[in-house]
Amino acid sequence: MAVSGFEGFEKRLELHFFGDDPAMFPLGLRKLDFESLEQVLEAVQCSVVSAVGNSYFDAYVLSE
């Protein structure tokens, strides 16, 4: 393998969901607890280093 530095080019994944129960929509995926998100990110091999949210969505800065 060639001598390599840190890979900058990102991989980007966008997933959309729908539900039969519109009552779930106000929070929907935002109801996922932090432990579940951490498990998802463990599979990806990164973790949360910083987070912020507003009334529309939550944003996380991840390691790597």
């Binding site: 840190f6 980007r12 039969d20 990164c46 280093v49 987070a51 912020v52 939550d58 944003a59 800065v61």
Partner: protein
């Protein structure tokens, strides 16, 4: 790397040797427990600088597509994978989309813009190195970089969450209502890279944003990918018009349509100084 969680949408963007596609199975699982079903999947990336360092399933686009095809549920039956070329064999845009019959919440007024920049101006890139033993937290050093570089001026209305890595590197997420933006920087000379991504209205003037981004990084090479849910994606002409007066010349432009997903336009630019 960044993660955005909306009520019915998740966006994950990761760099390095992360195994992003391995998030799909657990996300489908957790969403199912919330009464939500996957209706759309879009995976994009540029050409890796160090492709041989990537772990499975990111070992090749063919492997990634096979993994996606095998992982996403069959109700997402409108599928397409495409490598959008440029004039340079080392800069291609890789796109996979899959959508279900049931249309998700298409918003034809919005588009996603993904900018990848390499060969950053070395003097500007130095601003993304931390001072040795600065005694600051990643959050505090990130905030300092955000202000020092002018990133906070791209959208003065945005709430910014930023982080500086040690010894170098920077990530930020911006929030403006339900619109996000994100920047990631690896500033090391020889393989410097920065990305900017945002969602915006097709009617918004992206000239200011592009000018600020180019002033902050002054890349030698840049690609812009725009994705629009509708089939009338003409925002790309706006991008080229805004970028070319800033010293970048367009070298290629490729357009492709994806079933039930919209139109992707991939453009590459290089500095006129090259």
């Amino acid at each position: 790397s960044s993660l955005f969680v909306y009520p019915t949408k998740i966006i994950i963007k990761t760099c390095g040797t992360t195994q992003l596609l391995k998030s799909i199975i657990p996300l489908i699982h957790y969403a199912h427990h919330l009464g939500l079903t996957l209706s759309s999947c879009r995976y994009t990336r540029g050409s890796f600088i160090f492709p041989k360092a990537q772990p499975f399933p990111h070992t090749s686009f063919k492997d990634e597509v096979t993994y996606l095809q095998d992982t996403i549920p069959p109700n997402l039956c409108f599928r397409k994978a495409s490598i959008m070329p440029s004039k340079s064999s080392s800069h291609s845009w890789h796109v996979f989309t899959a959508n279900s019959h049931m249309p998700y919440d298409h918003d034809n007024e919005l588009f996603t813009m993904e900018i990848c920049m390499t060969e950053l101006d070395p003097i500007l890139a130095r601003k993304f190195f931390r001072r040795p033993d600065d005694g600051k937290s990643g959050d505090s050093a990130g905030k300092e970089m955000t202000e020092l570089t002018g990133i906070n001026e791209i959208n003065p209305d945005a709430l910014i969450c930023d982080f500086a890595f040690d010894p170098c590197g920077y990530s930020m997420n911006g929030m403006d209502g339900d619109w996000y933006s994100t920047i990631h920087v690896t500033p090391e000379d020889g393989f410097s890279y920065a990305s900017f991504e945002c969602v915006a209205s097709v009617n918004s003037n992206m000239g200011h944003v592009l000018r600020k981004v180019l002033q902050i990084f002054r890349p030698g090479t840049m690609s812009i990918s725009t994705t629009c849910s509708g089939y009338t994606n003409d925002t790309w002409t706006q991008m080229a018009s805004a970028v070319e007066p800033l010293g970048l010349k367009r070298r290629s432009c490729t357009m492709d349509q994806f079933p039930e997903a919209g139109t992707v336009v991939f453009q590459t630019f290089t500095s006129r100084r090259k």
